[in-house]
């Protein structure tokens, strides 16, 4: 029995279809990674599921309650960590978190304990009395993340939790998100960061232009589209089509992804046999290889495969839109 279930969930903003007939099931206790390029509709989906905005069409059941007909019941189960921190500049981190804990119904002793421990965990304890407008971008984000960690809702929507956060902070937050899941929360993690989705999620879904392209465990997704092995070849200059055709002609090669004209990622089988062939092929074509290495497929490859875009292209596209 899924804890979240959407039925043709759609949101239109004037002429933009932000979310397009989304059908999605999320199981209790999992971390579900919602991936997609800018403007894919991740945040809009999260806002509809958390009853902040109403769907134009379709609906969703969250914890067995319909977001349209019974939003009050949904709001009792959920918590949301917004992509843009929603904090008033006149308040302090401590005020924001303390009030949040109260309104989410924590007992006095629990509230005091959790506010203090979470402020400490996200490294904001010493800044707790500063005005929000005096905090850096990453600090505001830490306060926003702390909200949901204090609330510990049954269903947590977490939108880009680590954008703007430094590397040490990122790992810390990832650990805390995992702990939240281990305590029994279901987590919907919207993110642009494929690595983040990969290390945290039990399953991921890739959205593009409001639609869900594909949805499975990161491992299955990686296995589904590619030859098992990957060879990355960096050349000193761009490879022409003739060479690429020749490369494609090798029977072990499954797919070639052009990251840049001089940077190729080749998905293939039987890596130990094929690497010498690849090296020879480039040497014959008078193309010097500046580096060559073998790697595991990543979610980047899955993303590129399904959206038909490289990450860079995807970002460029959504900017020109």
């Amino acid at each position: 029995m899924p804890i979240i279930h959407t039925i043709g969930l759609t949101k239109r903003f004037e002429d933009v279809v932000a979310v397009d007939k989304l059908n999605l099931s999320i199981d209790e206790g999992e971390i579900f990674g919602l991936l997609g390029p800018n403007g894919a509709g991740k945040t809009t989906t999260v806002l509809m599921l958390s009853t902040v905005i109403k769907p134009t069409q379709g609906t969703a059941k969250v914890g067995n309650h319909d977001v349209r007909t019974n939003p009050d019941a949904v709001r009792k189960l959920i918590g949301i960590c917004f992509q843009e921190p929603k904090l008033m500049w006149v308040s302090t981190p401590w005020d924001v978190l303390n009030w949040h804990a109260k309104v989410c119904g924590l007992s006095t002793s629990e509230r005091k304990h959790r506010v203090k421990s979470m402020l400490t965990e996200v490294n904001m304890w010493e800044h707790r009395r500063k005005r929000i407008h005096g905090l850096s971008g990453g600090m505001k984000k830490r306060v926003e993340v702390a909200k949901i960690l204090i609330q510990r809702p049954k269903i947590a929507f977490i939108d880009e939790p680590t954008s703007q956060i430094d590397v040490v902070g990122k790992h810390k937050i990832w650990d805390m998100i995992r702990e939240l899941r281990d305590d029994g929360s279901t987590i919907i993690l919207a993110t642009n960061e494929l690595y983040e989705a990969d290390v945290l999620s039990n399953r991921v879904g890739i959205m593009h232009k409001g639609r869900m392209l594909v949805c499975d465990t990161p491992k299955k997704l990686k296995d589904s589209i590619l030859g098992g092995d990957i060879v990355e070849v960096q050349l000193e200059k761009a490879a022409d089509n003739h060479v690429l055709d020749e490369l494609k002609g090798l029977e072990e090669v499954v797919e070639i992804v052009k990251i840049r004209p001089d940077d190729l990622r080749v998905h293939l089988n039987k890596v130990e046999k094929v690497v010498p062939k690849i090296v020879n092929l480039f040497l014959n074509a008078k193309l010097s290889i500046s580096s060559i290495r073998m790697s595991e497929p990543s979610l980047d490859d899955v993303f590129v495969h399904y959206t038909g875009l490289t990450i860079e292209e995807a970002e460029k596209k959504s900017k020109t839109k």
Binding site: L47, T51, V52, D72, G79, I80, K86, M88, S91, V103
Partner: protein, 262 residues
């Protein structure tokens, strides 16, 4: 959690925010001082000498209502600030119903203006005295409802217009109508003298109700207000409060989604 507790938490939040507007409190107090010391004292000279003292009292009672009105309107500006910071979406995601949210905010906005105007009410009462305790308590209850109602009205207008600039202009115009076409600053008899239409309009004005009730509580109504029986005013205030608190809920919910804030 019980609904009452949630409403109180929403109230608490607005009060906390308000305490941070120290500058505003200082400005308002200076404004009141200037109204009384300049306008009140000078304008009373224009009244026939035997009524000058009474007009002065009448006038400061009116200024209290004007202050209560303009401080209750203030919550609308908070809404824009919140829309700008996206805090709205946050409030909408909390385990608090829309009804509790609007009710809490109207009440919070009303209490805030009472805190702001409270010392001035005390000064006014010290100057003009009061009729008797039951009258005064009833008058206070009515003023509370008035302040909540004006806050609810301000919230409703803010979420309807969704533009800070438009709101600012609209509220300026509205206050010109609603305050001037009331008995805040002049007795009903004079409004009637000026125009029958004015008199009728001023009888359907919450600012008139609040002014009459406050004066009734202070005991000065027996000199200057037409209606000695405040029941109509009391009913008017109650209707005003319910109208804007309930209408506010509906609008708040309908207008919030989809953004479009300027």
């Amino acid at each position: 959690m019980r609904p009452m507790r949630k409403i109180l938490l929403v109230v608490e939040r607005d009060l906390r925010r308000f305490i941070q507007y120290k500058f505003l409190v200082i400005l308002r107090t200076i404004w009141f001082g200037a109204q009384v010391a300049f306008f009140g004292l000078i304008a009373s000279r224009m009244v026939v000498p035997e009524l000058a003292d009474i007009y002065f009292e009448f006038y400061i009672a009116g200024v209290v209502i004007m202050m209560l009105y303009s401080s209750s309107v203030f919550i609308g500006y908070d809404i824009f600030e919140e829309a700008e910071h996206g805090v709205f979406e946050y409030l909408l995601s909390l385990p608090v119903s829309r009804r509790e949210l609007v009710l809490g905010r109207s009440i919070g906005g009303g209490i805030r203006s009472f805190i702001l105007v409270g010392p001035i009410i005390a000064i006014t009462l010290a100057i003009i005295g009061w009729a008797n305790l039951p009258n005064l308590l009833l008058a206070f209850t009515a003023l509370f409802l008035f302040a909540f109602g004006v806050s609810g009205m301000s919230i409703t207008i803010a979420v309807t217009l969704k533009s800070g600039d438009h709101f600012d202009i609209f509220m300026g115009v509205l206050s010109a109508f609603i305050v001037r076409l009331s008995t805040t600053m002049y007795p009903q008899a004079f409004v009637q003298d000026a125009s029958q239409a004015y008199a009728i309009l001023s009888q359907f004005n919450p600012v008139t109700y609040a002014s009459d009730l406050f004066r009734w509580g202070t005991g000065i109504e027996r000199y200057l207000t037409m209606s000695p029986m405040p029941l109509a005013a009391l009913i008017g205030i109650v209707i005003f409060f319910f109208l804007f608190t309930l209408v506010g809920v509906t609008f708040y919910e309908k207008r919030l989604e989809g953004g479009g804030w300027q």
